[in-house]
């Protein structure tokens, strides 16, 4: 009896949900002040542009608002062009994104800074921008600022934790929580590397906490996800690459380049394959982290963009729950990716050390 009732209620609820869903999609009548002319005048909403602006790096940290109500922090631009040159991004904020400075004219286009010879070059710049030279760019962008913040936070937390130890026991909240995770990572490195693990534990711990914190910071609104940027993940994996090259046993390179008991041409092919293997291992680490985090953010943003695509208030009822669910999933992914990065990098190091 009870089960039957449960089934009937379940069917009924699903039926109502279906009706609401299709009603929302198929109608625009529910929109308040519905006016076709008004809607046609509004600029066409472009979701890919919004998503790419969120994922890309930029010279200003935008918080909220547009034009007059905008609240954003402009960040310094540092260029190397016959000596270091310091600007602020607010100098570039005009119609053409151009700044004049002592006979030098700089222009920002698609996030890159070009050096122009005269102001006449601005005509047809979009078509022939590849002709002009780019300048070496060391500017402190949004992602760099956030990575500084994260590293400062890590320093604060871990120096506090270190100072709170008395008789091998932490007297600090961070210490009590983080000790479990640290022991867990040491266990992983014990499994993968073996007895020589102590050399590599500091590297593994710092990368783990850096990746974890930057993943979690990316989920806070207005903060950029710095692990969703391929250059940062590339530098992280570059360290692993350097470890696998320089901290090897003496006979590692010898094994790589010796051809024994196999035909000569196959041996050369095998050497070629080995070198590719050394290069690809850290590259997969880089691309895995980048793709996981950025794809999660793309899914999150596309669910939010559904509201603006349907132009209907009632689309909130399925857009917001889905975004909450996916952001919960993203918390899990941020822990999992940090764990996998550490696990695989220790595995690669262990393969080289124990060969």
């Amino acid at each position: 009896m009870l089960i039957n009732l449960y089934k009937i209620i379940k069917k009924f609820v699903f039926f109502i949900f279906k009706i609401i869903f299709f009603f929302i999609i198929s109608t625009n009548i529910l929109l308040p002040n519905y006016n076709k002319k008004k809607i046609n005048n509004i600029k066409k909403f472009n979701p890919t542009k919004v998503i790419m602006e969120h994922l890309k790096d930029s010279y200003e940290w935008h918080f909220w608002g547009e034009k007059k109500n905008e609240f954003s922090i402009t960040l310094p631009i540092i260029l190397w062009d016959n000596g270091l040159k310091f600007f602020n991004f607010s100098d570039f904020k005009n119609i053409n994104n151009v700044f004049k400075n002592n006979n030098n004219i700089y222009k920002i286009f698609n996030g890159k800074i070009y050096k122009l010879k005269s102001l006449k070059d601005l005509k047809n710049f979009k078509k022939k921008y590849k002709v002009y030279n780019t300048v070496l760019n060391f500017s402190i962008t949004k992602n760099v600022v956030v990575s500084f913040i994260i590293s400062l936070l890590l320093l604060l937390i871990f120096i506090n934790m270190k100072n709170s130890y008395k008789n091998y026991y932490p007297n600090n909240i961070f210490g009590k929580i983080l000790e479990i995770i640290i022991l867990f990572i040491i266990d992983i490195s014990e499994k993968n590397i073996g007895k020589k693990k102590e050399k590599y534990i500091p590297f593994l711990l710092t990368t783990f906490f850096f990746i974890l914190l930057s993943n979690l910071f990316g989920l806070i609104p207005t903060f950029p996800s710095i692990t969703g940027n391929i250059s940062i993940t590339l530098t992280l994996s570059l360290f692993v690459f350097l470890f696998t090259i320089f901290f090897t046993k003496n006979n590692f390179w010898k094994h790589l380049f010796t051809i024994k008991n196999i035909p000569f041409y196959i041996g050369i092919f095998l050497i070629f394959l080995d070198i590719i293997e050394i290069l690809i291992k850290p590259l997969t680490l880089c691309i895995r982290l980048f793709a996981n985090i950025s794809s999660g953010h793309i899914v999150l943003l596309s669910f939010i963009c559904l509201i603006f695509i349907f132009k209907n208030i009632f689309s909130i009822f399925f857009a917001v729950p889905f975004t909450i669910l996916i952001s919960l999933l993203e918390i899990l992914v941020s822990f999992l990716q940090a764990f996998i990065f550490i696990n695989l990098s220790s595995l690669f190091i262990g393969m080289v050390v124990n060969k």
Binding site: M52, T284, I287, R288, F290, I340, N343
Partner: protein, 75 residues
């Protein structure tokens, strides 16, 4: 027909195909790990660890495909 649309269509299909491959591989790993754990529940930890590693390796291959298709879409 717009040539840009054709590119986007091909890119989305290629992303779907790469995900299919990854799903097949991860499904096989999961099923065999379940079988192994049900046979020998004592070494479940070891099996889980190696399962996650091999899942990550397969995922990496699939993500290569997804990233290339993303690059074609957003270009």
């Amino acid at each position: 027909m717009d040539s840009n649309l054709i590119y986007i269509g091909i890119a989305t299909i290629s992303a779907g195909v790469s995900v299919l491959g990854a799903a097949f591989g991860i499904g096989k790993i999961g099923s065999s790990a379940m079988k192994a754990i049900s046979r020998q529940p004592e070494i479940a930890d070891k099996i889980q660890n190696s399962m996650i590693i091999s899942c990550a390796l397969i995922e990496g291959a699939a993500l290569f495909g997804i990233v290339t298709s993303l690059l074609t879409v957003f270009k």
